[in-house]
């Protein structure tokens, strides 16, 4: 029993499994980039035929990144990471906190980097000199008296050994964030016409209504174009949030890349839809009387108090979507000939009549398309990403470097034997140079003689 347990543990802790999982994940991920994802069944039948489509259905290919087998692979990957970490971390931690002043002198003689010196003087004096030399080269040292002399030790970034585990942990943190997001969050969308409000959004894919607990009103929506007249420059919605009859956010404008967040729910500018209708504001500049209307296309409207009849009798659209570029207005205040004119959408036209001067403002009614997301896991994911970058930097570019200086009295005479040695957890070539510089420092000091 013990043996099988051990074998199972070895299996899940192995790097072989990690390599296998990484390559299987890489290979299977390709499938979803070749076969379009999340389309209705009919699409697959049409593109691949009945039998293949059924086969796809069986293996969840149309939504493979959420399929049981892909999630199982990711779970296997996570278990591998966890078991591997539990398996190795204790030993690595031992190396980080190890008291290197207790290193067995015999092991010092076998360190990858070594240099032997001789010197006259007491171990105490030489210890002091050596510590000063180390400090001069950037090595802060501690020392301990030994029965036969003295051992000095200095190290740099022992914690860099943990870098690789920080990276492994960061992957698990990112997964945790993704799970939090998928369990407690949602992705949804809603179209809100200008002047309207909504307290419900609709889940992406399923269309399930999700109540917000507050209402979002679209006060205004505008598309701005570049000078070429075709490339959109900016989509901007003005949103007002009301909760329990109170306005909690008043006329906040959102654009793509600058969403609105309210109570953990974020509203992203994502699309728009031109509607069949216009917002019209008429102002009599003499009497200062003003009135706004939301009117349909091609219908005669009366403003009785102002004594005005008007309507929009023609329109010129910019695109197949139906965005109105210019509109033709019929306007009469009952005095003389009615005015008929073309004006730009979203502009103000001045009408000078014998009786009065009017300002006529018109803009097409739009509905703003908002993407609505609640993702309480996103900061966990970002924390994981940050940890991953720090971990990778530490794991790749920092190493645990250790230097010992072992000073012993020689059996005959007043001379001391000095062994300078060191080791590095990685990047041996750089450490070789660093060690050579330190040895140069010892060689240049008159107290020490190369052996």
């Amino acid at each position: 029993m013990k043996k099988t347990e051990n074998m199972v543990w070895r299996f899940f802790a192995s790097v072989r499994l990690a390599l296998f999982t990484l390559l299987i994940l890489a290979t299977t991920s390709v499938i979803g980039t070749l076969i379009p994802q999340k389309n209705p069944l009919d699409f697959y039948i049409e593109s691949f035929g009945q039998r293949t489509a059924q086969f796809f259905q069986l293996l969840d290919v149309p939504d493979m990144y959420n399929s049981w087998w892909f999630l199982s692979l990711l779970s296997l990957f996570s278990i591998n990471l966890i078991v591997c970490t539990i398996d190795r971390l204790p030993n690595v931690w031992q190396m980080v906190v190890l008291n290197n002043l207790e290193t067995d002198p015999e092991r010092l003689e076998k360190m990858p980097q070594r240099q032997l010196f001789h010197a006259r003087g007491s171990t105490a004096d030489l210890t002091e000199t050596a510590i000063a030399l180390l400090a001069k080269n950037g090595w802060k040292a501690a020392h301990e008296h030994k029965p036969d002399g003295s051992l000095i030790f200095s190290q740099k970034t022992p914690w860099s050994r943990l870098g690789v585990y920080a990276v492994h942990l960061s992957i698990l943190v990112i997964f945790a964030g993704a799970i939090i997001g998928s369990l407690l969050g949602f992705k949804a969308g809603v179209m809100i016409p200008e002047g309207s409000a909504s307290d419900t959004v609709y889940e992406s894919g399923t269309g399930t209504p999700i109540p917000l607990g507050f209402t979002v009103q679209c006060d205004d929506f505008n598309v701005a174009y570049y000078a070429d007249g075709a490339t959109p420059k900016e989509f901007r919605s003005i949103l007002t949030v009301q909760e329990n009859g109170k306005t909690t956010i008043d006329k906040r404008s959102i654009i793509v890349n600058d969403p609105l967040n309210y109570k953990g729910i974020t509203f992203y500018q994502s699309s728009y839809e031109p509607m069949q209708g216009f917002n019209v504001v008429i102002t009599n500049t003499n009497t200062k009387a003003s009135q706004s209307f939301q009117i349909p296309f091609g219908q005669k409207i009366s403003w009785t108090e102002g004594g005005i009849d008007f309507g929009i009798i023609n329109q010129e659209v910019r695109s197949r979507m139906g965005d109105v570029n210019r509109l033709k207005v019929w306007f009469s205040d009952g005095q003389g000939e009615p005015s008929i004119f073309w004006m730009d959408n979203n502009a103000i036209q001045t009408i000078t009549n014998p009786a009065a001067t009017y300002e006529f403002a018109a803009s097409q009614v739009y509905a703003t398309g908002l993407q609505v997301a609640k993702d309480p896991g996103v900061w966990t994911v970002y924390a994981g990403c940050t940890l991953m970058l720090i971990g990778l930097y530490v794991a790749f570019f920092l190493s645990h470097r250790r230097i010992w200086v072992y000073i012993t009295n020689e059996e005959n005479g007043d001379r001391c034997r000095i062994l300078v040695c060191g080791a590095s957890s990685k990047n041996k070539i750089a450490f070789e140079k660093e060690f050579a510089a330190l040895i140069q420092g010892f060689t240049n000091d008159s107290s020490f003689q190369n052996a």
Partner: protein
Amino acid sequence: MNSSQLLGITTFAYLFSAVLYIAILVFRAKKIGLFATLVTAAAFLVNTAGIGLRWYESHQMGIGYAPLSNMYESLVFFAWSIALVYLFMEIRYKNRLLGAFSMPFAALAMILAGLKNPDIKPLIPALQSNWLIAHVITCFIGYAAFAVASGMGIMYLVKDRKTDKTAGPLIASLPELKVIDDIIHKTLVFGFLWLTAGIITGAVWANSAWGTYWSWDPKETWSLITWFIYAATLHARFTRGWGGRRIAWLAIGGFVSVMFTYYGVNYLLSGLHSYGGN
């Protein structure tokens, strides 16, 4: 002088630089070494000036943006990154033979850019984000490192194949296999860090624009596939002691995946990054 002209000159200068480095290798013409370095450095400066001028020109047109937002601009920046990574390696390893296996990539990137439309087009709303700049810079420094690593992989295989037989002086002049292996490893590690940063900045940008940091669109997925390949490569080396030919092949294979992520996805698959194909 406009930016397209400067970048046209850059293309020829990189091509010239690549030819010089190859000449050093093939004819063992060490004398022209310094000249090759100067040409490369000059080409890099012209490339930098070209990118800077394009930035300035976009501001003159009233649509100012960092020139990193379409295929043409990214290829120009890719070439710039390759030259930067290569020059750094030449200084660090004091070996000009690496140039014969690196600078052709920079020249190739500029030639591909030459096939694209260099018109400065205004940015659609989704691209108006500082995360775009961070995303493109991090990705392409990573891609450049992977390009150079694959060049070193080719160099390794060339040297290794020839040492089986009696090595000619041409091959003998290449760095020792052990040294090339170390360079490949260091370049891969460097590239992996930047690729990771590139994927992360892309995710943050996607989240600020669309509210989803990851949506498994083909470009995202391919960048992750590339990440898996290099992660596997580094693990094979660190923990299973792989080296030599196997890592050289993986460096080349990894770069094929990089190129598919960058180039292939835009033309063969569809997705969110479709604007990158123009």
